[in-house]
C-alpha cells in the first residue's frame, strides 16, 4: 500500500525497511540532498505522517520508542566533509558521514575525533549528535554537547536554521545546538555539524589488571584518578563483576605517559602494559563492547562519582544471582550493566527504584518499549517538562516528527 503518493514519487525504488529496532517495521527514506530532505518533510507534513529522523539506526533504542512511526528519514546518504582546516582544529561535516571517516581524516593531521562510540563504521555524525552517547574517551574529552560548536537543522516547516558556527569561541545568539544535542531527532533533522577537535596524543598506553572484585576496582580507581588526573583518557572496570578487569587508558606526551605509567605501577603493582598495535586492538575492542545485539538488555547508571559505589551496590543487591557483565567508569559516575537475562517488568521497576533511592539516574536499552516508558514515568517528570514541550512544539508545531523520544509527555497529548 503506498505510504504517500508524493513520497513514493520522490523516492522511487530507494526505500529500505527499518526493522528489529524495538519499534514498528517501517519504510526508510534515504534522501541524497538537503532539498530532498525538505521535500520529504513537506510531503510528510501535508499527508500527516509521523517521521523518525535516523542516521544508520545504531542508537535508536537509546531513547523511547515512539507511539507512532510512519516513515524513517535517514541522513546516511548526506555524507562528506564540508570544511576542515587542520590549523583551526575544527571540522564541519554532513550528518551522514561515518565516525570512521571522520576519525581517519583528522588523524592524518594530528587530531582526535571525540566521542569514541561503538559501531564506528556505521555510526553517523548526525546520529551521534542526536543521541549524545557517552564515548569511551569521555573522561578526557568530555561529553558530546561540549564538542558541538554548531549545527544546521531542517525544521519540519521546511526552513533550515543554523545555530552556532565553526569557531572554538562564539557566544552570538542562543545555543540552539545545546537543545539539538541529545534530542533524538525530536526537534528536527540534523543536516550538518561543526565539531571541536582534540589534539591527538603522542603516546598511548593501556594498563590492565585483573581484579578480585568490583569494590577493589572502585578503590583503586579513586587512587588512580587522583594520581593520574592530567593524563587519564579512560579508567574503566569491565567484564564479569566477580572477576573484572581494570583498564587504565593513559595518553599524552611521551615523558608524561612514562611518568603516569610509573604512578600506575605504584598504585596497582604488577600489571599488563599494552602499547602501539596491542593497545589499539584492545582499545577498539573495549570501544565496541558496549554495542547492543542479541536479546539482552542493558542498564545505564548515571550518578555523582561519590554515589556511584552505592548505586552499584543497590543493583547488585537486587540481582544477586544474575549473570551480568559490566562496563564501569567510576571517575565519571557512569556505568553500564548488561544482563544475560531479561529482568522483566517487576525486576526492572525494582532496579529503577533502588537506583533512585541511591541517588542515581537509570536508563535502559534493549528492554521492552512499554516497560521502558513505564520506568520513565515512574521516575516522575523531569524539571522543566512543560518548558521542554513548549520548545518541542516551537520547533515542530505540526507534530510531524515521531514522538515521544525523551519522555512520554513530550509529544502531542
Amino acid at each position: 500500500m503506498p505510504l504517500s503518493t508524493r513520497i513514493d514519487e520522490l523516492l522511487g525504488d530507494r526505500v529500505g525497511r527499518l526493522s528489529h529496532w524495538g519499534g514498528p517495521n517501517v519504510p526508510i527514506a534515504s534522501p541524497r540532498s538537503e532539498s530532498e530532505v525538505l521535500a520529504l518533510l513537506d510531503a510528510a507534513r501535508a499527508d500527516g505522517l509521523a517521521v523518525l529522523p535516523i542516521g544508520n539506526g545504531t542508537k535508536l533504542d537509546h531513547a523511547l520508542i515512539p507511539t507512532r512511526v510512519d516513515l524513517a528519514l535517514s541522513t546516511r546518504r548526506l555524507t562528506g566533509i564540508v570544511a576542515y582546516e587542520p590549523a583551526e582544529g575544527v571540522l564541519t561535516a554532513r550528518a551522514g558521514t561515518s565516525l570512521r571517516v571522520l576519525r581517519e581524516t583528522v588523524a592524518a593531521h594530528g587530531h582526535h575525533f571525540s566521542p569514541e562510540v561503538p559501531h564506528e563504521d556505521r555510526a553517523t555524525l548526525g546520529g551521534v549528535v542526536s543521541a549524545a552517547p557517552s564515548g569511551a574517551d569521555r573522561l578526557r574529552h568530555g561529553p558530546v554537547r561540549d564538542r558541538v560548536l554548531g549545527v544546521r537543522l531542517a525544521r519540519t516547516d521546511g526552513r533550515v536554521v543554523r545555530s552556532g558556527g565553526a569557531l572554538v569561541k562564539d557566544v552570538a545568539g542562543y545555543d540552539l545546538q545545546r537543545l539539538v544535542v541529545g534530542a533524538h531527532g525530536s526537534l528536527g533533522v540534523v543536516l550538518e555539524v561543526s565539531i571541536r577537535l582534540a589534539s591527538a596524543a603522542d603516546e598511548r598506553v593501556l594498563v590492565r589488571r585483573r581484579l578480585a572484585s568490583v569494590d577493589e576496582g572502585l578503590e583503586l580507581a579513586r587512587a588512580l584518578a587522583a594520581a593520574l588526573h592530567a593524563s587519564l583518557r579512560a579508567l574503566r572496570i569491565d567484564g564479569d563483576p566477580e572477576r573484572p578487569w581494570l583498564t587504565v587508558d593513559i595518553e599524552g606526551r611521551a615523558a608524561v605517559v612514562e611518568r603516569s605509567l610509573a604512578r600506575a605501577h605504584d598504585v596497582l603493582g604488577p600489571v599488563h602494559v599494552l602499547r602501539d598495535a596491542g593497545a589499539k586492538r584492545v582499545a577498539d575492542e573495549l570501544r565496541e563492547s558496549r554495542r547492543l545485539g542479541g536479546r539482552w538488555p542493558q542498564l545505564e547508571i548515571d550518578a555523582l562519582p561519590s554515589r556511584f559505589g552505592a548505586a552499584l551496590a543497590a543493583v547488585r543487591n537486587e540481582v544477586r544471582d544474575a549473570k551480568l557483565s559490566v562496563e564501569l567508569h567510576p571517575a565519571l559516575g557512569l556505568g553500564w550493566v548488561r544482563f544475560a537475562h531479561t529482568p522483566g517488568r517487576a525486576g526492572a521497576h525494582t532496579l529503577a527504584r533502588a537506583l533512585r533511592a541511591a541517588g542515581a539516574t537509570s536508563r535502559w536499552c534493549g528492554l521492552d518499549a512499554e516497560v521502558r516508558r513505564e520506568l520513565v514515568e515512574a521516575a516522575g517528570p523531569p524539571a522543566g517538562l512543560a518548558l521542554m514541550e513548549r520548545l518541542r512544539r516551537a520547533f515542530d508545531p505540526t507534530d510531524t516528527l515521531a514522538t515521544p523520544r525523551l519522555h512520554p509527555e513530550l509529544g502531542p497529548s
Binding site: L167, A255, D302, P382, G384
Partner: protein
C-alpha cells in the same frame, strides 16, 4: 518612601514586604547607578531596583512584577560590556547582588553550588582549600558574579584550555518571568530530556533570572609556568599564535598585548614588568605535570622564536606569575590613563586569520583617527580592539561606533563572529543580522517565546526587533551604528 513614577504605591509596598526596605533602591540619584553597565554609551535609569536574597524571594518578586506587567532587566555586578544589564525599556532591575552565599563545596564530586551573586574570584578562593579552582576567569573576575557569567556564557584567558562557562555548568535554578521556579540542578552526567541548562547559558537575562548555580571545579595543576614572548611588532606576535595553534600546542592561556597596552599597564598600578620596548608580547600559561610543562614550554619557545620573538622570558616564581597576570587583567583599567573612556570591542576570527584581521582593525582605526590598543585572547581567536575616546565628544563617539561596526563586519566576512564572550546585549543586537539569516533568528525568537511568553525579560535585547532587510537598508543609507530603541 515615595513611589517611583512607573511603579505604583501598592506594588512598591508589596515588593518591599518581600525583600525588606534594604532590598529596594529608588530615587533618581541612587537609580542612576543602575542606568548602565560597563558600556556607558547606552544609558536608561530603571524605575526601581529590587534586590532579593534568595530563590524564594526572587520568585515572589517576579510573580508581583508579572501581575503588574513590568519589564525586567537582570543584573549581577554590572560589569557586562554590551548594555545587557541596562534597563533599556525602563521597568525594574532585579539584582542578584545580595545572593552571595557559597551553598556547598563538594570536593569528592568536584562541584560547587553557589548563589548567583557570588563573585567569580571568591569561588576560586574558597575552592583552593580543596586543591580545586573554577576555570572561567574573565578579566573582571574580582567583581563579576557567577550568575552574570552564566547569563553571558563568559570566558577569560584560561578558557583557551578549559572552555567558556557553558562547559563548566552542571545546573541552574532559574526563576521564570511569571515567578515559576525551575530547579535544573541534576545529580547525573547527562540531562533527562532536553538540555535546558545548556540552552539557558548565554541567554543574557532573556529567559529567566538565575538564582543558584552548580559548577564544575577543576583540580589545581601540579605545576603552572608563565612565559612571556617578546616581539618587535603585533603582526609577528599574531603570526606566532596562529603557528602555536596549527602545531596543536595546548598551553592553558595564550594572550596578546600590544605596545600601547603595555605602556598603559606599565604606567599604572598594575605595572607587571612588561618590556616597554617590545611592540607586542604573547603571554602564556602552561600547566600540568612537571614533564608536561617542560615539554610544552620547550615547544612554545621554539615556535615563538621561529616567528620572530627576540626573547622569551619565564616567570621566576609565583609572585612574578601573579604580577604578569595582574597586568593582563588590569589592562582595561590601565587604559584609563590614555583617555577618559574605553570602548572594548569583542569579536572572533578563525585562528588562521589573526594577523590579517588585527591589521585590518588597526587600519580602520587609523582611517577614523582613533587610538587603538589591543589586548586579547589570541589562542581562541577572540579579539578585543580597545578604542580610547571621550564620550563628551559626539563626533568621536560616532567614529568609535563606526569603527566597532566595521571591525565586526570584517570579522564576520572572514568567517568569524560578533562576540566571543561579552554577549550581544543592546550594543550588537542589530549586528546579529550580519551573522544570521532571518530563519535562524526566527528559530531563536521561537525559543525565547517558549522560555518567556510574556516578552518582559530584558526586552529589546539580543535579537533584532526589526527585520534584517530593514536594518541592512538603514545601514546602507544612513551609516547608522547605534541600535534604534
Amino acid at each position: 518612601m515615595a513611589a517611583p513614577s512607573a511603579i505604583d504605591e501598592t506594588l512598591l509596598r508589596a515588593l518591599e514586604a518581600v525583600v525588606g526596605a534594604r532590598g529596594i533602591v529608588s530615587g533618581h540619584a541612587r537609580l542612576s547607578t543602575y542606568a548602565a553597565d560597563g558600556l556607558p554609551l547606552f544609558s536608561q535609569a530603571p524605575d526601581l531596583v529590587v534586590l532579593p536574597r534568595d530563590t524564594d524571594e526572587t520568585a515572589r518578586v517576579m510573580a508581583l512584577l508579572h501581575t503588574a506587567g513590568v519589564p525586567i532587566a537582570a543584573r549581577g555586578s554590572g560589569t557586562g560590556l554590551t548594555g545587557g544589564a541596562t534597563p533599556a525599556a525602563g521597568g525594574v532591575v532585579v539584582s542578584t547582588a545580595r545572593m552571595r552565599s557559597i551553598l556547598e563545596l563538594a570536593p569528592a564530586d568536584r562541584r560547587a553550588r553557589v548563589q548567583a551573586g557570588v563573585v567569580n574570584a571568591d569561588l576560586t578562593t574558597a575552592a583552593a582549600a580543596h586543591g580545586l579552582f573554577y576555570a572561567p576567569d574573565p578579566s573582571s573576575q574580582q567583581a563579576c558574579t557567577i550568575g552574570g557569567n552564566v547569563a553571558n556564557n563568559s570566558g577569560g584567558p584560561h578558557c583557551f584550555r578549559h572552555g567558556n562557562t557553558t562547559r563548566h555548568l552542571l545546573g541552574v535554578v532559574v526563576v521564570l518571568a511569571d515567578g515559576e521556579v525551575l530547579d535544573l540542578v541534576r545529580d547525573s552526567n547527562d540531562p533527562v530530556g532536553l538540555d535546558l541548562v545548556g540552552n539557558f547559558c548565554g541567554s543574557e537575562g532573556t529567559f529567566g533570572i538565575v538564582t543558584e548555580v552548580v559548577v564544575k571545579l577543576v583540580p589545581v595543576p601540579e605545576r603552572v609556568e608563565t612565559l612571556l614572548a617578546l616581539f618587535t611588532d603585533l603582526d609577528a606576535a599574531c603570526g606566532a599564535v596562529s603557528d602555536l595553534i596549527a602545531q596543536r600546542l595546548e598551553p592553558s592561556a595564550i594572550e596578546v598585548l600590544d605596545r600601547l597596552t603595555i605602556e598603559a599597564v606599565e604606567a599604572s598600578v598594575y605595572a607587571a614588568g612588561y618590556p616597554v620596548d617590545a611592540g607586542a608580547v604573547v603571554l602564556c600559561d602552561v600547566e600540568g605535570t612537571d614533564e608536561e610543562v617542560e615539554a610544552i614550554a620547550t615547544d612554545l619557545v621554539r615556535i615563538a622564536e621561529r616567528n620572530g620573538a627576540f626573547e622569551v622570558r619565564r616567570a621566576a616564581d609565583a609572585a612574578e606569575r601573579k604580577r604578569l597576570w595582574a597586568g593582563r587583567k588590569g589592562a582595561f583599567g590601565a587604559m584609563g590613563r590614555v583617555a577618559p573612556d574605553l570602548y572594548v570591542a569583542d569579536a572572533v576570527v578563525p585562528r588562521t586569520k589573526l594577523r590579517e584581521l588585527v591589521r585590518l582593525a588597526t587600519e580602520i582605526c587609523r582611517e577614523l583617527d582613533l587610538k587603538l590598543a589591543n589586548v586579547f585572547h589570541a589562542g581562541d581567536g577572540n579579539l578585543h580592539p580597545n578604542i580610547s575616546y571621550d564620550r563628551r565628544d559626539p563626533d568621536e563617539v560616532r567614529r568609535v561606533l563606526l569603527a566597532g561596526t566595521r571591525i565586526l563586519e570584517a570579522c564576520v566576512a572572514a568567517g568569524g563572529s560578533i562576540t566571543g564572550e561579552h554577549g550581544v546585549g543592546l550594543e550588537k543586537r542589530d549586528h546579529m543580522c550580519a551573522l544570521f539569516g532571518e530563519d535562524d533568528l526566527d528559530a531563536m525568537r521561537d525559543v525565547r517565546r517558549a522560555w518567556d511568553p510574556s516578552g518582559r525579560l530584558n526586552p529589546d535585547k539580543l535579537l533584532p526587533i526589526r527585520r534584517c532587510s530593514e536594518i541592512h537598508a538603514d545601514a546602507v543609507t544612513t551609516e547608522r551604528v547605534v541600535p534604534s530603541a
